[in-house]
Symmetry: C2
Subunit: 189 residues, 2 copies
Amino acid sequence: MASPDETENPFTMLSARQVYENPWISVVEHQVLSPGGTPGIYGVVKFKNRAVGVIPYHEGKIWLVGQYRVPLGIYSWEIPEGGSPPGEDLIEGARRELREETGLEAHTIEPLLEMHLSNSVSDEWGIVYVARGISPGPAAPEDTEQLVVRTVALEEAYQMVCAGTITDSLSVAGILRLVLLERERAGGP
Amino acid sequence: MASPDETENPFTMLSARQVYENPWISVVEHQVLSPGGTPGIYGVVKFKNRAVGVIPYHEGKIWLVGQYRVPLGIYSWEIPEGGSPPGEDLIEGARRELREETGLEAHTIEPLLEMHLSNSVSDEWGIVYVARGISPGPAAPEDTEQLVVRTVALEEAYQMVCAGTITDSLSVAGILRLVLLERERAGGP
């Protein structure tokens, strides 16, 4: 008898039905048997777009955008980010979000990290880039966005993460990764 | 005339109805007017629990748990984490998840960072702790979990984040923050 493969799905997936859909997400409820054999449900939020974040980095400073986040009811300072639809080149998506939210153009776009944002419930995937060789241009936010842009030192952004002032997950992880990268490049341990 | 406050909700929220609910999430669809005045909808996924992650750290090593993530259809190596219900003390929740998933007990539990995991669509909030002064005990996973536990050097976990081998957002951000903290404590720049 073959030994069980621990990397295989331990749930028995019995059936699935879509219970909600809008242009950005759908929600699918699965009838399952748990690893222990207990009947239950598993609700999954499926995302239509990939999340793309980009940190414009120039002379030790980064650009942050402030925006109201409806699901939280809070105003949030974040790296430029947004949804990249299927088929869009991710780096093109990063350049587009950078242009739309800040008006900036970048010479190079370099990946920092990839994440699954909320993997107990959703399939949302995101990537964060650092943009270098920054030059200005006109901003063109979407109708659904009302943005304020400011620059802060990367080390100040890191302190904002540590203080819980920046809380958006792509921003938090991207800033931490960029701080490590820049300290390593400067020859630190 | 008062000038508009950019930190207020630029959407006009017209009405809301719950379109889905299970024991972990609900989904609410709002009828809105966009900042530009265009009618539209905003779907919000509301979480009933807080996400709590905890990194057991001992002599330069951390513990990771491997588990299959149904929404993604992948096997994922992560820090011990789970949902803390309303009313549970968060540090108690961290100790409970640590105990359930690894059997470990900790002398101290120290906060590393807080995040909103997916703020374009959900209100999910999470916190990551580092646990120090680790001692063993019996593991007791929930019926819905089938877990494998292993230890890796913190620096190896950092390389797994950079390589995209660890992708869970709480794990990614928590590991990056802990690497920075430990390098700073060791006197690095």
